[in-house]
Structures are given as C-alpha cells and as structure tokens.
Symmetry: C2
Subunit: 388 residues, 2 copies
C-alpha cells in the first residue's frame, strides 16, 4: 500500500520535533529509478505557500527524485524567508541523499499558515528520515503527513502488461480546508510503470479533475494543495495509456473518498449527483453550489431532508434550468418534483453516514458527482480552537 507499493520507491516517516506534541511530522519519499518521471498538480489559490511555489518550478523539469513532506506548519504567507527555508530543505535533502540535485526534489508542507518552520528541527529530521528509508516505509510516511486527520490514507491499484505486473500506489492527508481546485491536501502517488512525463501529466490532470477537484468539505481552498505522481519504471512494464490512466483515477478516487470520510468534524458524507444538465460545467457548478450551502449542510447533519435548501442553492447558479422542472431526490426519494412538493419527506431515511442527493436539472444529458460533508458543531469547535 501507500507510496512503496510500487517498485523502485523507498519512504520513511519520522518525528522531527516540528509538531509540539512530538508526533510524526516528516516524511521522505525517494524514487530509486531507473526512471524519474514526474507530474504535479497544485492549488489554484493565488496565495500559494512557499513549498508550492518551489515544487511548481521543480515539476517544470519533469523529473523528481525525492519528496520531502512535513506536517506541523504550512510555510504559507511566510515571505522571502519562508521560500528560503523551502529551498534550504531541498538543498539539504540533496546532500543527505547523495547524488541528488535540489532541483529535482519536491517539497510539501501542511499545518498552520503564517508561521515559519523550525528549520533547526526540520533539517536534522531529513537526516534521520534518510537513515530509515525502506521499501516498507510507505505506511509511516502516510502517518507523518497527518494534521487533524484521524486516520492515514493510502490506496493502491494496478494491472499487467505483457505479463508484467505494474502498480500505482499513493498516500494522502486532508481533513480541513477541502474545496475544489484542489482540496487541502497533500497527495503523493507512485508507480513502477514505465511512463513518460507527458503521459504522467495528462493522466494525473485527468484524474484530479474528476476526483480531488470534486470534493468540497468546507468550501475553503488551501494555499498548499499538492498532488504528485512519480514513476520509477522499476517494474519494466509499459501499460497502455488508458489502462494506466484508469489506475491513477482509481487511486485518486479512493483517496478523495477517504478525505471526505475523515473531514473535520463531519458526521455525514454527502454524495451530490447532478443529472440531466446541459453541460458538465453546469453540473459541476450546481453540485458545488449545493455542496457549499451551509443551511443544507446543517439540515443534513440534523437528518432533515430539507429539499428547499437544495433548490435555493441551485437557484444561485448560472446553469441552464427551468425552476418548474427541477427534481430532487434525497436517498432516492424524490421529495421535490417539478420544482414543488414531491414524495413524502418522511420516507427519507437519513440515519446512515452516507447521504445521497440527486439534482435533476431536466436540461440535458450531462452529469457530475461532487462529494461534500455536513456542517457540525464539532467542525466549529475544531476550527475555532485550531491555532490556540
């Protein structure tokens, strides 16, 4: 599982002392080759953390030999000093790992915004992690990048090409500030398939577009979102593009679902499917509007099939629809038909964690699924006390 499921990768996760509670907070993932192809997708927030600015540059080269990730501090909004710290992190890792170039080392950080990282702890932490690199280190790496995540997240998929097995594995952290473009999260995917950088990039962008970009826990977009895909070629397998892309999508979808399942304070996972839209963009816009409606999120928390709040959310979009032809189902009960009262809302059973909302726009044939969470007192508590 995790980032060492694929051949050609070693990883480690250790406690460097960045987190005040002494928990694991530093992960190292190394691509031992023979190939070092890589692709990356980053937050679309215009306020980008130092490690995002750094790693975007690294990825332009199309090769990544190692990734240093830390929890306990986002290194965002930290000015020139913060960028120097990220640069120093990559330089130090290049020295420690020997024979590596800082320009091929990606860095990712997560935690509080606006604080400088304790470099006196982070740099020695890289040395310690390097001594613990292992083909079985993926699990520990996944644990070390957690912030308010209650569980670590890993996934794996793969296939066979000409009788040679290949694998795509990955790890993710999420929990809060999860919203499109991307959700707040760090994700590292690895594969031992032999894939060139352009195909990696295409597969990764296609996968994130319909997975990580379609989870919306709290409508808040992070400054640090990073998804990396590294290919070692160590399996010797060269899968067909479609088969490989599907495996990448499977792993991303699996991890995205895990992010929603462990979102801060959430008690419900909400699957919002918009159907019969005039375009996919319309379906996504409507899905996101529903996903971000605080009143609806509260209603779902209260197990109240309040379809009026779904309609009022749809009504704020520019999507093509006629208000009198909107239909809404909650857990498959069509409580709203033709923009008005439909089946008996008492038929809706909302006791389980997963709640399904279907919005039928009656305007075309396109559809999209957005995953969201309910809004709870626990979310408020967790996020009003986070930095204190």
């Amino acid at each position: 599982m995790s980032v060492t499921a694929a051949k050609g990768f070693t990883a480690a996760g250790i406690a460097a002392g960045i987190k005040e509670n002494g928990g694991p907070d530093l992960a190292l993932v190394v691509n031992d080759g023979p190939r070092r192809a890589a692709a990356g997708v980053f937050t679309s927030n215009r306020v980008k953390a130092a490690p995002v600015l750094w790693s975007e540059q690294v990825l332009k080269g199309g090769a990544v030999t190692a990734v240093v990730l830390n929890s306990g501090g986002a290194n965002a909004c930290t000015g020139p000093r913060g960028f120097q710290d990220t640069h120093a992190t990559a330089e130090h890792a290049a020295v420690v790992l020997e024979g590596h170039s800082a320009g091929e080392i990606a860095v990712a950080s997560t935690g509080l915004i606006g604080l400088l990282l304790p470099m006196d702890k982070l740099l020695p932490g890289i040395e310690k992690a390097a001594t613990e690199l292992s083909e079985h280190g993926g699990e520990k790496a996944a644990i070390a990048i957690k912030t308010t995540d209650t569980v670590h997240k890993t996934a794996v998929a793969g296939g066979e090409s000409d009788g040679v097995a290949w694998t795509v594995g990955g790890m993710a952290k999420g929990a809060g500030m999860l919203a499109p473009g991307l959700a707040t999260m760090l994700v590292v995917l690895t594969t031992d398939a032999d894939i060139e950088t352009p195909a990696l990039d295409t597969a990764l962008r296609a996968a994130t577009r319909t997975t990580f970009d379609r989870v919306d826990s709290d409508g808040c977009m992070s400054t640090n979102d990073t998804v990396l895909l590294l290919a070692s070629g160590a399996s010797g397998a060269t899968p067909a593009y479609d088969e490989f892309a599907e495996a990448v999508r499977t792993v991303c979808a699996d991890l995205a679902r895990q992010l929603i399942g462990d979102a801060e304070g959430a008690s419900k996972d909400i699957r919002i499917e918009v159907v019969n839209a005039a375009s996919e963009d319309d379906a996504v816009e409507v899905g996101r509007s529903i996903a971000r409606n605080n009143l609806l999120k509260c209603a779902v928390h209260g197990e109240d099939p309040n379809w009026g709040r779904v309609l009022s959310a749809i009504g704020t979009t520019a999507a093509a629809f006629d208000p009198d032809r909107l239909n809404v189902a909650i857990n498959d009960v069509w409580v709203c038909r033709n923009g008005s009262v439909g089946e008996d809302r008492d038929l809706v059973d909302m006791r389980y964690r997963e709640v399904r909302i279907t919005a039928d726009l009656s305007a075309g044939t396109e559809s999209a699924v957005i995953w969201a969470n309910d809004l709870t007192a626990d979310y408020v508590h967790e996020n009003s006390a986070y930095s204190s």
Copy 2:
C-alpha cells in the same frame, strides 16, 4: 418608527394562526395616499417564491396601495397552487380594504420552503388585520414578520424641504439565509415625501446595492427576499433627490446592520473593509470571499486572529492583487504585512461582539464594506433542527 413613522400609512400585525405556536404572523401595511408610488427590489435567486413572482409584476405598474406580509411559511417551491394562493391573498385584501385593486397589492412571505400556506387561516387573518389598521401599527407589523429573529427591526430618517418635514421609515426581518442579492429578508420602507416612482426606484436600488446587498451572514441566498419602498406624499414635502436618497440609504444601512446583529446563532458581527482595490467590484468580490470563509468564521468565533485564513480567502478571487503586497488588520492590528507575518497577533483584542477586518489589496483606490457573522455551534443547532 417602523412603517407608520411616515404620514399617510397605517399598519397592523396580528396572529392569524399560520404559525403553530400562535404568535403574530400576519402584517398589513396600507398606503392611504394621496400618492401610491412604489419601488421594489427582489432576490436574484432564480428559484423565486410565489409572492416574489407576484410582487415583481405588481411593482411593474409603479403603484402599491397595500402590502400583505406573513411569517410562518415562505410559499416557495409550491408550484402553481402556491402562486394561486398568493393571487388569492391579494384579491382578498383588495376586497377587504375596499376600493383597492389586487394588481396594486404586494405580497411577501417568509418561513419554511416547500409548504403550502394555510389559506383558511391566512384569508380571515387579513380581515382581522384590516380592522386593526392604525397610524401606530408599525411596531406590531414589524413583530408579525419575525421568524427566527430574536428582536424586531425598525429604523427611521428624514429631513425638511422648504420648512416641511418628511420621513422615511421601515421595518425588516432577517435572521438566516442572509447573503448578497439580497439577504433573506423582508423589508418595507415608507415615506411621506412626494416622490415619483422612477426616483423612488433609483433611490431604492442605489441604497440596497451598498447595504442589504453587502451583508452576508451565511452565504445562502433566499428565494423570498423583498424590499419595498412606498411613498404616500402625505407630508406635502418634495425633497431634493440626493437628500431623499441619502435618507433611504440611512434607513437601509440601519436595518442591514440590525439584520447582522441578530443573525442566527451568531456571537460576532464582522465588519470586513476591503481597501486600495483596483475597482469597487474587486473590493466587493474580495469582501464576500472573506465573509463566506467558514474556517475564518470559526476562527472569529474562537477569538483567534487567524489572518492566514483571510489571505487564503483573498487568494480564491479574481481581483487584482500581488500576494506579496497584501496587508490585513484585525481590530486595527496589522497582523499581516506584505503577505507575511506582521504585528504580534497577541495584540489583537477580540472580546467584543464587533470584529473589524481590514484587507488592503495595495492595487488601487477603491473600497467596500461587507458585513458578516461568525459561524457557531448555535448556528448549526438552529439550522439542523429548524424544520423538525
């Protein structure tokens, strides 16, 4: 105060039995003339309640002789039957008030979406309200339109023209689903100034653009928002347009501030001022993005001057700015300078209900103020239990 502060108006507020708790739930406001000029602004939600669809038509005629308002049910998403009920409400009021035309009677409703109104209670309620119409009825009318409002809201302003006094008064209800375009609310303003419909309309639109359109309690836009301005001409005063428009703006700003001060579950009122923006549109876009950031709203609730969440909200907009030139003050302490750590966050005192956030985009000279609320466990509680 309220809608009977201006001469030429009578009003009443009674309990018609629409609300299950037996509280006041029906208000009637009548313009006794001599003029019946009127202007209206309605929700920009594309899913509009029946009374909004009806009143939009009425306002096209430029004359309103009476307004029937009810709480206890929004009559939204109620299909053709809901519209027939609104029509019947206006027709019945026209008969009861004698000499009135249904086409000049506006209707406004507030409460749960997706339920038909109990017309067997509402219609007799109009008869009862008509018998109680009084020049002192404004306060009772303001009380009758409350839903989850804890207090009723009224405001008044005015002036003198050629030695003749004139007045603008108003009432509002709000509490939840408060977001731009407009906030969820019903507002009726009255004036005894002698103003023609076009000038009323211009003054009302100008006033709502910078007041009701700039409060954002929970990012949710209602299906029922209605703001009406009725002019009786009863004072005989004909104020200069600018003076009149300023009085309308004053009353709207006062009522808007009261809406934020009584928003569902809120413990803080947040005044977000965006300064040095390249355009007013940019300032409003940034202000709204900050106003809707759930993580920031939680931080304010926790009295945590978490400026990183302000920056991450700014970063999601398309406004002109350089991330390295952003400055943020919380209660006048510039905790973020040049996109990075500024003054000591421990200097920020957030004990009081009003919290001021200033975002300096360093991109121009335009500015805007948006009012918002914090996000609390009480909000979650109130809105997860609302319809049950």
